[in-house]
């Protein structure tokens, strides 16, 4: 098990290799990426920022919960912070397990819990130059033109 907040591009293949094990029959990879449109607006990039010490603690807690619940320690999660361009990966979740069903169940559990609990925020940049803070439940408020908060 390993979790990390990183400021460099994520490498899904490396994380997949990290969880592979000869006792595993299935590996899954989840990659979250910056999508061209959100809530009808055209996105050009996203800044991700975190309350880092708490985010690290919460990520590790969620992974430990998944390990206990689904019966595998072959789990790696990396979340990227900083400014991401269109198509870039913000999160990679890699799991391997002896059996396929819990490998897929763990994947879903991890991304859903992370989306609800880990203190990470995004500020979307739009094609018209505006920026907004958005949340995972559809909320949005305009962001200040020059950001006071850094990652």
């Amino acid at each position: 098990m390993r979790t990390a907040l990183v400021e460099h591009p994520l490498d899904p293949a490396a994380l997949l290799a990290e969880v592979e094990d000869q006792g595993s029959g299935a590996s899954t990879l989840f990659v979250g990426t910056v999508r061209r449109t959100n809530q009808g607006r055209e996105v050009t990039g996203i800044d991700y920022s975190a309350y880092a010490p708490m985010a690290e603690r919460e990520l590790a807690t969620i992974v430990a919960e998944a390990a206990a619940r689904f019966g595998t320690t072959h789990i790696v999660v990396e979340h990227r912070l900083g400014t991401l361009a269109l198509g870039e990966a913000s999160i990679v979740i890699a799991v391997s397990h002896a059996r396929r069903a819990p490998a897929m169940d763990a994947q879903r559990f991890l991304i859903e819990e992370i989306k609800q609990r880990v203190p990470i925020w995004k500020r979307e940049h739009y094609v018209d130059g505006e920026r907004a803070w958005t949340d995972n439940a559809g909320g949005a408020v305009p962001a200040a033109p020059d950001a006071l908060s850094a990652s």
Partner: protein, 78 residues
Amino acid sequence: MRLNVLLFASWSDALGPQVVVDLPEGARVADLVTELAGRASGKVLPRPLVAVNHRYARSDAVIAAGDEVALIPPVAGG
């Protein structure tokens, strides 16, 4: 009791990354949120949670001087 409270995202835009709040001894998480929501009116994502020492705290939890307190607006990771 004088607390340094960490702020993030829209709350940081509105009030800065850190604010000082004076609260009576025995104040609870809900009191802190009420105080800060008054200052930030409207420009923030509503219904923030509060973390005390890196853990989510219930709204009736009592805050102690020296705690690391942070306002956690709706999260957007993943």
